[in-house]
C-alpha cells in the first residue's frame, strides 16, 4: 500500500460518526488493562523485595506459653528464656539464636512507631523515596526488640558503628541500631553514631550503629525500610520469636529439632510452638499477593472478553454500513487484499489513537497513586505489555470485519445505483 493511501483512509476514518466513541472505548480498555497489570506487578513485588539480611538457612520459631493468671514474673521469664536459648543452641546445626519481637514473616499488620530526635535537621541528600517527616520532625517506622546477637544471626550489614554484642553490658541497655533510611530521615547526612533516638515506645536510646535498610513486606504499610532495633529479651512473658541461624542446608532439620526441644520445656496444655523455615514474606502475604494477581487476571480477562465481543459486533456494523463504498472500490478494480488492508488500517487508527491517549493518562494516574502506594510505577515494559494486550484484544475487532469486507462483491454497488 502506498503512503498516499493513508490520507484517504485517515479522512474516511475520522469522518465516521462513531469514531470518537471508539477511541474513547480503546482509551478505557487501555487504562483498565494497564492499571490491572501495574497493580498486579506491585502486589507481587511487595513479597519479592529483599529483606536486607541473609534470608537463607534461617529458622523462625514462635513460642507461646500458657496463661499467666498470677501476672508475669520477670525473673522467671528470664530464667525460662535462658533455658530455651540454651536448648536451641545445643541443637546440631545451630550457629546462632536471637529472640525477636517480630520478623518480616509476621504477616499481620502491626502498629507503627514514631521516631524523632532532639532538634530537627534537614533530611539527607540521598533521602529515601517516599519517606515523609512531620513538621515537628517525626518519622513513622517500625521498632523491633531483639536479643543482642540479632545482627550476627541475620547478618545485618553495618554502614556505621557496631553491633550490640561488641558493646560493654552497661552500654547496650539503652542502645539502638537504626536503618540507613531512618538515619537519613532524622539526621540528614550527619554521622548519627552517638546521637539520641526518641520514640513513642522505648526510653531514649543512643544510636550505636547504622545498618543497611531492613524491610517489611506487608502491602500498604508505609515506610517499611524505616527500622529501629532495640536490644532486649523480646519476650513479653507470654510469647517470643526465635530466629535461628543454621549451618547451610540444615534449616529443615533444625526446625524439627527446635520444635521438639522447646515442646519439652512447655507445660502440658495451653502453649503453642510454631516452627518454620524462614521465608521473608509470610505465607498469608504470599498467598494474598499472588491471589490478588490471579483475581486481577480473571477480571482483566473478563473485561478483555467483554471489550472483544462489543467491538467485534460494532466492527461488523461498521462494515455493514459501508458495503456500498466497498462495492464501489471493488468495482473500480480494488482487489480483496487491498480492501482487507484498507479496512485493517482504518480500524487500526482508533485503536492506536485510544492507546496513545491512554498512555499519558495511565502514567499520570499511576504516578498519583504511587504517592500513597509506595513502589507503584508505570514502566516502559508495562507500557509495552499493555500495548500488546490492547492490540491482542483489538485484533479480532480489526481482522474479522476486514475479512467480511473482502466478501463484498463488486455488484453490491449495483443494488443502489
Amino acid at each position: 500500500m502506498a503512503l498516499g493511501d493513508v490520507g484517504p483512509i485517515w479522512r474516511s476514518t475520522v469522518r465516521h460518526r462513531a469514531f470518537g466513541l471508539l477511541v474513547l472505548e480503546v482509551f478505557i480498555i487501555f487504562i483498565v488493562i494497564s492499571n490491572l497489570l501495574v497493580t498486579s506487578r506491585w502486589f507481587v513485588d511487595r513479597v519479592k523485595i529483599p529483606t536486607g539480611h541473609r534470608e537463607t538457612d534461617l529458622v523462625d520459631v514462635l513460642v507461646r506459653r500458657p496463661s499467666a493468671s498470677g501476672g508475669i514474673d520477670r525473673p522467671a521469664v528470664v530464667a525460662r528464656h535462658q533455658r530455651e536459648l540454651g536448648a536451641l543452641l545445643g541443637l546440631a546445626g545451630v550457629e546462632g539464636v536471637a529472640p525477636v519481637s517480630s520478623t518480616q514473616a509476621d504477616d499481620m499488620i502491626v502498629a507503627p512507631n514514631l521516631f524523632w530526635t532532639e532538634g530537627t535537621e534537614p533530611m539527607g541528600s540521598e533521602s529515601c523515596a517516599g519517606i515523609d517527616r512531620s513538621p515537628e520532625g517525626v518519622v513513622v517506622g517500625w521498632a523491633v526488640e531483639a536479643g543482642p546477637t540479632l545482627p550476627e544471626v541475620v547478618d545485618l550489614k553495618f554502614t556505621a558503628g557496631e553491633s550490640f554484642s561488641r558493646l560493654p553490658a552497661d552500654q547496650s541497655e539503652h542502645a539502638v541500631l537504626v536503618s540507613a533510611c531512618l538515619a537519613r530521615a532524622l539526621f540528614g547526612d550527619a554521622n548519627v553514631v552517638g546521637r539520641t533516638l526518641l520514640s513513642n515506645r522505648y526510653a531514649p536510646a543512643q544510636i550505636v550503629g547504622v545498618v543497611e535498610d531492613v524491610r517489611m513486606h506487608v502491602p500498604f504499610l508505609p515506610h517499611t525500610q524505616v527500622t529501629a532495633i532495640f536490644p532486649g529479651l523480646a519476650d513479653d512473658g507470654r510469647q517470643v520469636d526465635y530466629l535461628i541461624r543454621t549451618a547451610p542446608g540444615q534449616a529443615a532439620a533444625v526446625r524439627d529439632g527446635a520444635a521438639t526441644v522447646l515442646a519439652k520445656l512447655l507445660p502440658s496444655a495451653g502453649g503453642l510452638i510454631n516452627a518454620r523455615v524462614f521465608v521473608p514474606a509470610g505465607p498469608r502475604m504470599v498467598y494474598n499477593a499472588y491471589g490478588t494477581t490471579k483475581v486481577f487476571g480473571v477480571i482483566g480477562s473478563g473485561i478483555g472478553l467483554a471489550a472483544l465481543m462489543g467491538n467485534v459486533t460494532l466492527a461488523v456494523l461498521v462494515v455493514a454500513s459501508r458495503r456500498r463504498i466497498i462495492g464501489i472500490r471493488r468495482a473500480l478494480g480494488a482487489t480483496r487484499l487491498q480492501v482487507f488492508r484498507e479496512l485493517s488500517i482504518e480500524t487500526l487508527i482508533p485503536w492506536a489513537l485510544g492507546s496513545a491517549l491512554g498512555l499519558p493518562v495511565t502514567a499520570f494516574l499511576i504516578a498519583e497513586a504511587g504517592i500513597v502506594f509506595a513502589g507503584l510505577r508505570f514502566t516502559v515494559v508495562d507500557a509495552g505489555v499493555t500495548l500488546a494486550l490492547v492490540a491482542l484484544v483489538g485484533i479480532p475487532a480489526r481482522i474479522f470485519p476486514a475479512i467480511q469486507a473482502t466478501h463484498v462483491p463488486p455488484s453490491e454497488v449495483g443494488r443502489t445505483l
Binding site: 496463661s67 501476672g71 502453649g271 503453642l272 459486533t313
Partner: protein, 430 residues
Amino acid sequence: MSLFPYHVKLAAVGLRRDAWMSALMLLSLALGAGIWSVAVTEFVHFYGLAQRFSPTLHHVERLRPRDVNSSEFASLGLQEATLKARSLLSWPEYRQVQAAPPGVRQTAGIRGEVVVQRPGMAPGLWVARFTNADFFALFERPFEAGGPWDAASDAGGTGVVALGKGAAATLFPAGDAVGQTVLIDGIPYRVVGALGKHQPLNAPWQLLVNGGLQDAVFLPLGDFDRLGALPYQPLYRSAVGADRAALLASGALFVSHWVDLPTDSARAAYRRFLDGSVGPGRYVLRSLPEWRKSFPMPMSIIAFFNFIGAVVLCGGAFSLCRWLMMKGLLRQGEWGVFRAVGAPRSSLFWRVIAEAGLITLPGALVAPLIALPIIAYFNHSVRVVDIPLAPSGPSVAFSILGPSILNLVCACYPAWRLSRTAPTLNLGSF
C-alpha cells in the same frame, strides 16, 4: 407515551433482526456489569452498607495535651493509625469512664490473642475480644446458636466463651458448638453462643479495612486479667516497662469504648458524668454517625476495585451508545420512512431508548449472577481478612441500578441523534 408498548415491540423486532449481534452485545454488557457488580460488592462490604448500627451509640474521644500519636499520624497521612489513636482509650482513661451513671448501657472491648484448642484438635493462636455481655446487643451481633453470657459473668472467672462465626465453623463444623468445651490458654471454657454473622470490615470497635483477622472468640472483660492477657498491638504513647502492670498503667491505647445514649436527657446526663470524671473540655462526645463523619475510612485497595468497576461501567455504556448509533445509522433509511409517514421525533427517540432498555436490563439483571463465580474465586484466592466477600441486598441493588441507569443515560445521545433523521432522507433513493 401511550405508544410506548408499541415502541418496545418494534425495538424487540429490531433486536431480533440481528439476533447474534444483539446476543453478543448483551453478553458484553452483562460481563462488564458483572465486573461492576464485583466492585460494588467489595464497596458495600468495605463500607458496611449492609450493616447499620444504632445511631444512638456514642463514642468518647479523649483530648490529650500534646498527643504525639494522633497529630503526627495525621500530619503524615496515616489515616488508620490516626483513627486508632483518636478512637481508643488507655486503660487508666477507660477506668475513668467505666463507672457510668445507672441505666447507661456501655461496652468496652480489648483485642488480644489466646491459644484456643478443641480437645483432640491442634491448638491455634486466635484473636480474642475481651468485652462485656452488652457488646452483642449494642452492636447487633446476632447469634446462630446460644446467646451471650449473663451480665454477672462480665467480671470473669465463670469460664464462658462465645465464638465468632468463622471460629465456630472451624472448631465445630457440625454446628454443635454451644455447650461444648474449648481450652483457652489451657483453661476449660464452656461455649455459650456462636455468632451468626461475620464481623463488618468497618466495625466501629475494630477496623479491618486494610486487612487483619476478625475477632474469633469473645471472652468476658474480667478474664482479661484472669488470663493475664496482653492487648494486641497497642498504640504506645510513651516508654513502657516490660511487664503487664506497667503497660496497663501507661498511656498505651487499646480499649474500644462505646456507650448507648438513646435520648437527649441520657446524653445530657452522660455529659455531666464526663465533666465530673474526665473534666470539661477534655473530651468530645460523638454519636456513631458523627464519629463516621469525623474519621474517614482509610485508603485501601478497595479504591482501586471501585476505580476499575466504574471505568468498566463507563466503557460498557460507551459501547452500547456506539452500537445503537451504528445500528441506527445503518437503518437510517427506515427511520426516514417512519418520519415520512408521520412518526414524530419523540417516537424514534423512545424506540431507541426501548431498544437500549431491552438489551441493558437483562444484562444488568444477570450481573450479580455473573459476579458470583468471581466473588467465589476472590474468596478462595485472597485472604487479606478472614471475612468472606458476599453479595448483599444493597450490593445486588447497586449492581443492577448502576449499569441500567448509566446505559440508558448514554443511550439518550444516539436516540437524540437518530430522532433528528429527516423525513426527506429517502427522497434521493426513489
